[in-house]
Symmetry: C2
Subunit: 217 residues, 2 copies
């Protein structure tokens, strides 16, 4: 069983990489099995379908995202809100380092590609975006309770704004082949526009030395 | 030649609909030809490849977008910036009415799906996003010259913020199966946060009576 469960995990990790660097429909089960070194006949022992494999890929990315955001636990609410933006950027920079170019948000990519054709995966993705917005909202409400929201700013709307802005920024960076490195700073700037003291807390993320590279070059 | 050029246009319009309601890779040349009532053998008379057809689809959507934004010519710069957001929402509502559900931005969908695998279409899409941001920036600079930007707001950064926010909003609305009807209002709210008098100028867009519907229901 050790080897078996290892094969299932290899399939998920391989699919996660191939879906992220290309797209769901650009990659077939046969190629995933070959890259994961799993016999194609074994695939359906682990997953009923490619859709179920994609569900496992979404769960894998989500568990990384939630763990990364859970690690943001210290400081004032404003500092934690800024740290959430930095944590999201750090995940994107990790993808960029591993794959040699910006690849987009794993949830956003699948959402754009599959929302209209796969209601099951669409629901899964909507749940992830809902949870991310909920987590933003929890901290935005803490910022509000701290008296740090600027006049007229609603915490739930700020959460929705940040959630959407991240998706738009990362999609535009992906199509431009630019770096993920500016995404955190842009989110910090947006937070500073809505939160008193947001500017003072800003820290530029560590640079990775990476520039736009890879297939677009 | 009349019938010939008509067949080429039917291919573009059919592909535009099928790519938008499903995705580029979900749809094959054979199906596009069948739906457009064009013999498959004739396809390559009009287009070298499916990629060239997608290029024509991008051009078609872009021409609609630029014409719609060109029509926004009256009023103060602030009013024109708000009207740009409403024009973009109106295009999305048109898609929603025609296709029975929100389908996303035609450029954003293709960008998410193809940026890493098709550098040629990626460049085309990046050019469209660049032009949209440039058009936002022109009006944001006019708002600035009018003295209506709030303190600390940079017109180019506001343009980038609006461009990204639209992409994020429409992607999230797509995966949630909600209506495009709130997108303009959300952009107006963001403008009001950065522009003096932006609130006073706000007009809710005409409602279409459409609700979230279609395949997700």
């Amino acid at each position: 069983m050790g080897r078996s469960s290892d094969a299932g995990e290899r399939l998920v990790r391989t699919a996660a990489r191939l879906f992220l660097t290309r797209s769901f429909q650009h990659v077939g089960v046969e190629e995933i099995c070959a890259e994961a070194n799993v016999r194609k006949g074994s695939f359906y022992y682990y997953f009923k379908s490619k859709t179920e494999l994609a569900k496992a890929v979404i769960d894998l990315h989500a568990s990384v995202l939630w763990a990364s955001l859970d690690a943001v636990a210290e400081g004032t609410p404003t500092r934690r809100l800024l740290a959430m933006a930095s944590a999201i950027e750090a995940i994107q920079q990790g993808f960029e380092e591993r794959h040699g170019r910006i690849v987009g948000c794993p949830f956003g990519n699948l959402a754009a590609e599959l929302s209209t054709t796969d209601p099951y995966l669409g629901e899964e993705l909507a749940a992830v975006f809902g949870e991310l917005e909920r987590r933003f909202a929890v901290v935005c409400h803490e910022v509000a309770a701290d008296g740090a929201l600027r006049p007229g700013v609603d915490p739930d709307r700020l959460a929705a704004l940040l959630n959407a802005q991240f998706q738009g920024l990362i999609l535009l960076a992906k199509v431009r082949g630019s770096s993920a490195a500016g995404v955190g700073a842009a989110l910090h700037e947006l937070i500073a526009r809505h939160v008193d003291g947001g500017e003072a807390e800003y820290r530029p993320p560590a640079t990775t030395g990476l520039r736009a590279a890879g297939p677009r070059g």
